[in-house]
Symmetry: C2
Subunit: 252 residues, 2 copies
């Protein structure tokens, strides 16, 4: 087909965010309550329109900052700094995914350390961390006193894809450290793996594995007893992005 820019069907393009964190030993996602139709009153992933002169990753980082105050840290971007890991996840463009119009949504995945509490942006909706297990359950998610309902639009599918990406990516990359504060112990890192995978890991074999993988962890010299028990060494993430050999996820 000749590339005729004057005769193209117009689309709206949005970004949706799968923002994951580990809270109280379970994997949680950020959801917001919709204040208007369609799906009014239902929970949805945060997101919004891409602006006319804005890159996709920039739009995702802007929405993330608006929702959480987090500073995104795109691994592709040279700008280093504190903040969450952000990467593109996938694009969803079913013609009927939004009942009002043709909307193509470029979903992004964000991995963040445990945050105090989500704060709503300038808008009047509420935002909340919810366990992904509840969000993905048949029957949907509700907080106390609400009717249980599935996520709006195709957001349950997007969330499921994001969770699966996170679960597989911590196998062969050092991304699990994105769920941790800047300094963390081996036990804290193990509890991240356990929460994301939903399995129990042998603490001794885990310790041997992560401390034996060069470039994964760098000791800071400090120790902490914030988990109770014997003081544990503190580490920060090493430079290695890929783990070789990978962490093995036990068969479920």
């Amino acid at each position: 087909m000749p590339y005729d820019p004057s005769a193209f069907p117009p689309f709206a393009v949005t970004v949706d965010l799968v923002v994951l964190t580990v809270r109280r030993h379970s994997l949680c996602a950020l959801v917001v309550r919709r204040g208007e139709p369609p799906f009014q009153g239902r929970w949805a992933l945060p997101g919004g329109f891409v602006r006319a002169d804005e890159d996709l990753a920039a739009a995702a980082a802007r929405e993330l900052a608006e929702e959480t105050g987090l500073c995104a840290h795109d691994p592709a971007a040279p700008a280093q700094g504190k903040g969450a890991h952000l990467e593109q996840l996938a694009t969803y463009g079913d013609p009927k995914r939004d009942p009002r119009m043709r909307v193509v949504s470029v979903a992004h995945l964000v991995l963040a350390p445990d945050l105090p509490a989500p704060r709503a942006g300038g808008d009047a909706y509420s935002a909340r961390w919810a366990p992904v297990e509840a969000l993905l359950n048949q029957g949907g998610y509700a907080r106390e006193g609400e009717q249980a309902a599935p996520l709006a639009f195709d957001h349950a599918q997007i969330l499921a894809d994001g969770v699966e990406r996170a679960r597989s990516k911590i196998e062969y990359s050092s991304l699990a450290t994105a769920f941790c504060p800047p300094e963390f112990t081996v036990g804290e890192l193990r509890r991240v793996y356990e929460a994301v995978w939903g399995v129990a890991l042998d603490p001794r074999n885990f310790h041997r594995k992560v401390t034996g993988t060069v470039g994964f962890l760098v000791p800071t010299g400090g120790t902490t007893t914030r988990q109770g028990g014997r003081p544990a060494q503190l580490f920060r993430a090493g430079g290695a992005a890929l783990l070789n050999p990978p962490m093995l996820r036990p068969e479920v």
Copy 2:
């Protein structure tokens, strides 16, 4: 930001295809020659606009059929059948990636067996298989008699991302069989791995590995001598989608 569908910036949405195959022991991609500006005369990935009522995967499958006659086989779709493997790759939306207008392109990755020769669709441009190594070289790609030039738009980046996806995905999935004809030998499969990874593999260890992974290969009972030497057993792809443990790519 409130979700206001009446005030959104309009985008054009396209699909671009990274169609890979293995020919003469090297990994090749399908490129088409642009017949009009911008980048007139340059090589580019095949692609085109998504129609107003068309799903993204359907648009990619339609473009693939127009360019190659291949029937796409989306693993997410229930419709089984012969044809190439198709999956979404990533989405590219830099505001300046097309000099004429704001275009967001949803790139798809296609893995196909060696085909007789690309046929142009109804259009007047030429299509061609080109080794990815040449396409990604600094300085760009040219056939004989042409000036070497990089791929049009951001297609070199899209191709590089597609090649990297294919290289990593054949490690832990059975996707390498998508490069093979319906029946193939262990040696032919090994040459696929060697071409995609650009390394030499030990034929004996490779044979032990692939025949020992349950669900990867199913013997058909036939044999062939099309590679010369002792007759080799013929196999077809087994049902397993994931290889556990994975194939290990030798460090480069």
